[in-house]
């Protein structure tokens, strides 16, 4: 993971600031940095979104393909995750440098998103036991400036919202042979219900307090952080502790409560934004990667 070196004096300055609910860039402890979201940025995917959070930038593309349902759940589709830590984001990722982080991130993403409570996996089934949609979620880190989990989760939710799966119907002949037929209208698509898709809130223990959306400097001052995935109702679906230090039960409880509060507040404006963007349709001015 990308790190920065912080001197002892800087550390004290950051710690003292947080203690007084005032962070280096002027935010409060539960404030996010400026966030930008744009969907439908990669035309050859079925759904895509780009999220920038401070200087952190991630791109998520979703490709839908037809596969075979998992034996245990014949009437559900599934998601596959791959996180590419490109050396664009930080020189440390060069070569195989980003591999470990990528695996760690994608493992977490499987836990958070690939279950029927988060995504309506049943709607991805085409014919039980035979064909289902597999959503390949590719995450590309463009720039790292802390708080990757939150940025990625927001981008995934936006990309899922944006995903258009072509409609298919199964035609069966007399012999029982099944044939998948594709609608020839490119606008004839299925959309996913993303209401229950959670967002991840990472809380970082800095000193005696905890903050959300840490910058790299703040991160360098913390010993441990807690990853919480929260749905729009405030339900916690997953928690995970990362970092070398330990957390006492009391602060875990406090952090969870804070995470719920922040996560619940994150969903409503996000959905509003996505719907707004969608309603613009083709008239929307695309920003893309150069804007």
């Amino acid at each position: 993971m990308a790190t920065v070196q912080v001197s002892e004096a800087e550390k004290v300055y950051i710690l003292h600031g947080i203690r007084d609910d005032l962070r280096v860039d002027g935010r409060g402890c539960e404030d996010y940095r400026h966030m930008e979201i744009e969907t439908d940025v990669v035309s050859n995917t079925d759904g895509s979104a780009k999220v920038t959070l401070g200087h952190t930038a991630v791109l998520v593309g979703i490709k839908a393909d037809i596969g075979k349902p998992r034996p245990g759940v014949p009437n559900e589709g599934y998601l596959e995750f791959f996180v590419d830590c490109s050396a664009n984001a930080t020189p440390e990722f060069e070569g195989r440098g980003g591999e470990e982080l990528g695996t760690e991130l994608s493992n977490t993403l499987y836990k958070v998103f690939n279950n029927k409570h988060s995504v309506d996996l049943k709607s991805l089934c085409i014919s039980a036991g035979e064909h289902c949609w597999v959503l390949y979620v590719d995450v590309l880190l463009l720039q790292c400036d802390g708080n990757l989990y939150d940025a990625i989760s927001v981008a995934i939710k936006a990309a899922l919202f944006n995903t258009k799966i072509p409609k298919v119907h199964i035609s069966a002949d007399e012999e029982g042979g099944k044939e998948i037929e594709l609608s020839d209208d490119p606008y004839d698509c299925m959309r996913l219900d993303v209401e229950n898709v959670p967002c991840i809130v990472t809380l970082c223990k800095v000193g005696h307090r905890h903050v959300v959306d840490v910058t790299l400097q703040e991160k360098a001052c913390s010993v441990a952080s807690l990853i919480i995935s929260v749905t729009h109702t405030g339900t916690v679906t997953c928690t995970r502790k990362v970092g070398g230090g330990s957390l006492d039960p009391e602060s875990i409880f406090e952090m969870t409560e804070a995470g719920k509060r922040v996560g619940k507040a994150l969903h409503a404006p996000l959905m509003k934004l996505l719907q707004q963007e969608e309603s613009l349709g083709k008239t929307r001015q695309k920003v893309g990667f150069l804007g």
Binding site: N44, D46, K63, P166, S171, D173, D184, D185, P186
Partner: protein, 898 residues
Amino acid sequence: MLKSKTFMKKTRSGGVMKIVREHYLRDDIWCGSEICTECKQESPVLQRDPSIESNLCSYPHYVIPDTNVVLHQIDVLEDPVIRNVIILQTVLQEVRHRSAPVYKRLKDIIHEQEKHFYTFTNEHHRETFIEREPGESANDRNDRAIRVAAKWYGQHLEKAESEADALKVVLLTNDLGNKQKAEESSLLVYRCEEYIKSLIGNPELVDRLALSNDDKHDITSSKVLFPEHLPLSRIQAGIKSGTFLQGTFRASRDNYLEATVFVQGEGEDSTEVLIQGLQNLNRAVYQDVVAVQLYPRNQWLAPSSVMLQDEGAAKDDNEEDKEEEDEEKSVTEAARKPTGKVVGIIKRNWRPFCGMLNLSQIKESTRHLFTPADRRIPRIRIETRQAATLAGQRIMVAIDGWPKHSRYPNGHFVRSLGNAGDKETEQMVLLLEHDVPHQAFSQAVLSSLPKMPWAITPEDMVRREDLRHLSVCSVDPPGCTDIDDALHCRELDNGNVEVGVHIADVSHFIRPCNAMDKEAANRGTTVYLCGKRIDMVPELLSSNLCSLRSNVERLAFSCIWEMNHKAEIIKTRALTLSSLEVRFHIDSETHDPIDLQTKELMETNSMVEEFMLLANISVAQKIYDEFPDCAMLRKHPAPPPSNYDILLKAAKSKDVEIHTDSAKALADSLDMARVDGFPYFNTLLRILATRCMMQAVYFCSGMDTDFHHYGLASAIYTHFTSPIRRYADIIVHRLLAVAIEADSTYPDLMDKQKQSALSTNLNYRHKMSQYAQRASVAFHTQLFFKSRGILNEEGFVLFVRKNAIIVLIPKFGLEGTVFFDAKHKATPKLVFDEEGPTLKVEQHTFHIFDMVKVTISLDASNIQHQKIRMSLIEPVISGVSVPAPVVEPQAKKPKLDR
């Protein structure tokens, strides 16, 4: 400006792919009109004054047809009257997608400068490109694109010229919905028929209109005659599951109610499905690709052996010839064949057909039946106002469709070929019906010719051996201009003899993949008709630069052997077969045949032939050794033993034994076969043997394992000696040139798939050219008998059939059928014995080889199918034979006749 086009595609593995293509829009696409001052175009295509007069549009205008108009009315668009047409890119793409032949024709029109057809790339024009909208089908989107482009043109031209008589654009569409929408956006729009009919002074153009769907209703009764065709999706599902079979529809030449569908199975096994009855034939036309459903085994039928011709006149749509359909139900089990019915058409293979018009009984009627020259094609109903002029002419007609309530398909007049019976016309019919490419060579082809005067250059000499010091001679009939082979022979110092075969080096002039090469590959062979030659390569090559004429320097490919005086090259005996070749003595002024004789073979001919065979075999071995995967060879499969049945039976009747174990045994026993007092017996037997043979074919050595040439008794064979008139020889020359490092290779030459496809075409062209040749001989024979009136000649029975004998007249090399069951006469008592085979007519029994006397005359009652009629004179059978008519002595000096 950049747009992207997105569409979904199913991949072969069953996945779904999203494909995104970048689509660039430009603002430098010009309108192509002469009046436009805005567009910076160099040579505008559309004229300033498009002079076409129409009742509907009194103003000067350009025409924009939509896709369906182009697809269905291409015959109209080809007419020289129709000019100044804008073909939109949308239309061009759709046409290309839906019909390759129409696309080719459209491209040809566009390239013709006289036609002033302009292609407007509206899909890349910034102002006329549109994106598909949600809920819009691909067709609707294209229709909209056409309307948008038409609208743009209207506004653009208005801007260009401020004068009152500004040019307008007229959109032609037959789609009512599209027309309505176009009218709403205030475009000038007409239905194609409407517009064509409004054109002043071109009434014959209306005949060329293809009938559109709504026109068809008033032509026929509403009674449904045929079962509905299944949609393609169901057909495909059925073929996949095995309930239907896919095959090529082959109508019977002799019986219009019968056809077979040839189903290509896995590998070698292929089946033929018999289809009988109009309902089961279900509107399939010869050569269509159809889906058939088999009947259960107990409903299988045997092919009928009667000849039936559709004599129905135009009006008797509804009265079906019932008795014809349910005849011969009592067939033996063995004769039954898989029988089925056509359930759907996978691909129509309609082309314009040659034929003649049957005038309707009603004088004023504009609807007539057209009878194609090919009996396998059903009659076609057409609409024309020039019936009176077209009667007695050979015309071409294209099929437009075959609705399920119509007894005959509907079509439209394409063009007239000339008066029936004229030599020119008949020749044209012959060429068209046998699919012989006979147009003059295009400019592109001619531009690949070497510049004249041509001379051998020093570069040519570098890789060649100079044989100009040798005396080389050719043996060819007088008047032959395409001489592709020559020989030389000289004594060597060591006492041996050197013999060389020199073949014109055509591959030096025809370079791979240029226009001339492609044209030659397509033509495949030169076609020789009586009095006409349709060249495979332009005349400059065939009769001059490549022709090994005397006293000129020519490039050649030579094959040289050294042999001792006894010519001891191991000789494999080739099978000498026989078929009579006829030669006409043609009157030099009228070009009518005045005499007819069978070709005589000279000793020198067979010597040349012997050497050519030798050259071909040597070359075949050489190229096969060098390129085992892609050598172009020729094989002649051994016929299955059952083919010989008739030959063996015939020989046995004269107590002669024929061995058919191998080509050599056959050749030897044919040589031995003699009957005292019957000198012609041997020739007759050889003619019979020829009929037993299979067709020799070209093939690519990498695609086959059986190379044997049965007729020549050679393990390997190819064609090397006539590159001027056969394309296979050119390929062989190229292979040989690469093998001896005289020339470089090119990818297609080494690609066995491409070679194989090429051989298929060559085989097809070769077969067709032979048919055309035969048909040409038949036509000239008819001309000859027309001028000679009735003749009495001696002949031999060649075959015995159930109701006829086939007689060969040696004097003319003419074969004819003597029928014993004439329509208007009582049929005599006929007993057919298959074992003999013999036919007993009343008291007299006919055997093969019997000598008979017949009278020969021309039967011109059916002008389209004129034929030679033979009637029996001797032996005299009462009620069957005819008295010998008095033959008028031929005028001694034919010139007095004129």
